[in-house]
């Protein structure tokens, strides 16, 4: 794959008031590759995504997109660079229907007038491709959808557009078996089409199934970013729960000797 990352972050710091959530984070997403971003609950994954998409301003750090330094101050900026995001907290408008949500901010128009039939058709096709079979009507308000249906709408909304970078924050959390498979396949297909894809997930099977690289956050610090082929399942879990695994991750505590045994033990119960 290409050696130049599409998006590169350097030295990102982010605090909420007195709480520092991200510390000197570096991260890169490569075109044509799926980069899995993993980390414990509260590690800072979603915060990092929101910094990338311009929802939160960063306190310090650089963004380099397509080789040029950029500043992203709002989701509009991110969208205009070609960044699409599926947020963990889905951010759908409950008072709008499925079609309206999917095209929000980028409605198809005929002159001044909204082109509803076209949008409805496109929405139907996209949802069909995501194995959604239980939605009664595309004109249903999203407030009446089930958890998985909402998630699907959010995913469909992000993949409708021709973008360069797609970030999915736990996209399959609420999905059924078939739908999950479909989304993972979609993720792979997007990358194969040359897009950069960032996938956040707690499911190691999924991560190893589709990702090319794995980046691990531990308490707001990026402890490793490696090729998926160069790391094992157990090592990733160690990175997530202890912040280091053998050579990888944080430097060993001065007080403890550096053999990775203790942390490995500590997470034994965590691997299902």
């Amino acid at each position: 794959m290409s050696a130049n990352p599409l998006l590169e972050l350097r030295g990102i710091d982010k605090s909420f008031g007195p709480v520092q959530v991200l510390r000197d984070v570096a991260f890169a997403a490569y075109p044509g590759e799926v980069t899995a971003l993993v980390g414990d609950n509260g590690a800072g994954k979603s915060t990092l995504v929101k910094c990338i998409s311009g929802i939160y301003p960063v306190d310090a750090g650089e963004f380099i997109f397509d080789g040029r330094p950029v500043t992203i101050n709002s989701p509009r900026d991110a969208a205009s660079l070609g960044i699409e995001v599926v947020y963990q907290d889905l951010a759908l408008c409950d008072n709008l229907d499925i079609v309206q949500n999917m095209f929000l901010g980028r409605e198809k128009r005929n002159g001044l007038v909204l082109d509803e039939p076209t949008m409805e058709q496109m929405a139907a096709e996209t949802l069909a491709g995501l194995s959604v079979r239980t939605v009664k009507s595309l004109r249903q308000h999203v407030s009446s959808l089930s958890g998985g249906q909402r998630q699907t709408v959010a995913i469909a909304k992000a993949v409708l557009w021709n973008s360069k970078l797609v970030i999915l924050d736990e996209p399959t959390a609420a999905l059924g078996v078939a739908q999950t498979a479909q989304v993972l396949e979609l993720v792979r297909r997007l990358a194969d089409n040359g897009l950069a894809v960032v996938l956040i997930s707690h499911n190691m099977n999924d991560v190893f199934a589709v990702s090319d690289r794995i980046a691990a956050l531990y308490l707001g610090q990026m402890v490793a970013q490696v090729k998926t082929t160069e790391i094992t399942h157990a090592q990733v879990v160690e990175l997530i729960t202890a912040g280091r695994s053998g050579e990888l991750g944080l430097a060993a505590d001065p007080g403890v000797n550096g053999n990775g045994a203790a942390p490995a033990d500590s997470t034994a119960g965590g691997v299902s």
């Binding site: 709008l96 309206q100 909204l114 139907a124 949802l127």
Partner: protein, 419 residues
């Protein structure tokens, strides 16, 4: 892969193409489920009208019907603008006095300075736009809650009216065109023509939409339902124009009085235009989105600040229209124009019609229906001859009754989880 095969038909295929019967059944189910749109407001209106007609037969005269329109026009127009602001979950307390300021500008220009009416009307509208933009800026960019900004506006504009009125004088408006807006009627033939054009236009839009959806094989209302809708509009419009075209002079020896008051087509056109803006343009879609979930709208790349500012602008511009109508009706502008109960009535009209104060839910038609409820109550109470105290109490109670028709019919809605 067979999953894709299963779903190829797509969600659209889940529901079979509706027939007239299933459409009616669906509608009834929706009503029973509490999703009833304008029905309760209309029902409340009918109940009110029936009661008043029984108690005071003069309520049901052509003359009173015409009065209803001219009495309710100003509040309804202001309420129509307020819908935009309410849809965002904001409030504009200053809309009443903003209409007063605009009316004062109009009166000063036509009467004191002698400008032609169109200059004055334009200036009044412009004043409204400037006021709205300022309010919107303070809310969206500076970040002061709209309640506080517009409370400040409520106070300040009250002062501005006084200053424009040279500390309390009222100014007559005798400019014939301005006066005509509320006080003159269209020729009988013109009324019929406009009604016919409106029905024809509606029919064309409905049929085109039907065709385009049918062509793409999307779920469509059954054709007879579309026809029925057109017929219903024709019936309502025809009836209204017919009644307004009846002779309603109190003394035909002195004068003849018939025709649709000029303000009616003005309200109707604004109703159509603003409804179009809200329902059929992406701007309107964005208003709903910002009101429903501001953060989601921001993440979707909508320029939330611009939407908010523009909504305030529209609101104050509509307030200006309301002010012009009020000036026309009173033939004068005084420091109280737009004051007293105007604001509460206007917000009340929008809310009674079904607009939510929390944003995201409401239509322009709500404001018109709610405005009609308010106007009918005011009109009917005026015929009862109560003393002031009793009149206030009864008005309050009647308002409550009209609203509880709505509330009770929506009760099922929350029981079934819709809201």
């Amino acid at each position: 892969m067979s999953i894709t095969a299963v779903t190829k038909e797509g969600p659209a295929a889940v529901a079979p193409a509706p027939t007239v019967g299933s459409h009616v059944r669906d509608y009834w189910q929706r009503v029973r489920g509490g999703d009833i749109g304008a029905l309760p407001a209309v029902a409340g209106l009918l109940v009110l009208c029936t009661i008043f007609s029984i108690m005071r037969p003069s309520f049901l005269t052509a003359g009173n019907f015409a009065n209803l329109f001219t009495q309710g026009a100003a509040v309804t127009l202001i309420a129509m603008g307020l819908v935009f602001v309410l849809l965002l979950g904001e409030i504009d307390l200053s809309a009443g006095f903003a209409s007063g300021v605009c009316a004062a500008v109009l009166a000063n220009l036509v009467t004191v300075l002698g400008y032609p009416w169109y200059v004055a009307v334009l200036a009044a509208l412009l004043t409204g736009m400037v006021i709205g933009t300022t309010l919107g800026f303070l809310v969206a960019k500076v970040g002061i809650p709209s309640f506080v900004v517009t409370l400040a506006g409520f106070l300040a504009f009250q002062g501005v009216v006084l200053l424009l009125m040279k500390e309390g004088r009222n100014i007559s408006v005798r400019e014939p065109v301005v006066v005509a807006i509320v006080n003159r009627n269209m020729p009988v033939a013109l009324g019929w023509t406009l009604a016919a054009i409106a029905v024809a236009g509606f029919a064309v839009v409905q049929l085109l939409r039907y065709r385009s959806r049918a062509a793409r094989n999307l779920i469509n209302d059954p054709f007879p339902v579309v026809l029925g809708r057109i017929a219903a509009l024709a019936l309502v419009l025809g009836l209204a124009v017919y009644v307004l075209n009846l002779e309603r002079s109190l003394n035909t020896l002195i004068t003849s009085l018939k025709g649709v008051p000029i303000v009616v087509p003005i309200v109707a056109v604004l109703l159509v235009v603003l409804t179009f803006v809200l329902q059929r343009t992406s701007y309107g879609r964005h208003i709903y989105a910002v009101g429903g979930n501001r953060e989601a709208a921001r993440r979707a790349g909508i320029n939330v600040d611009r939407i908010r500012i523009s909504a305030f602008m529209i609101c104050s511009t509509m307030a200006a229209v309301g002010g012009i109508v009020a000036a026309s009706r009173a033939n004068s502008v005084d420091p109280n124009t737009g004051g007293s109960n105007v604001l509460l009535y206007a917000v009340g009209a929008a809310v009674i019609g079904g607009t939510s104060l929390f944003g995201g839910k409401g239509r322009i038609l709500d404001a018109v229906l709610g405005g009609a409820v308010v106007a009918v109550i005011d009109n009917g109470m005026g015929l009862m001859g109560y003393s002031s105290g009793v009149k206030y109490v009864v008005t309050g109670v009647v308002l409550l009754l009209a609203a509880s028709v709505d509330a009770l019919s929506r009760r099922r809605a929350s029981a079934t989880g819709n809201r």
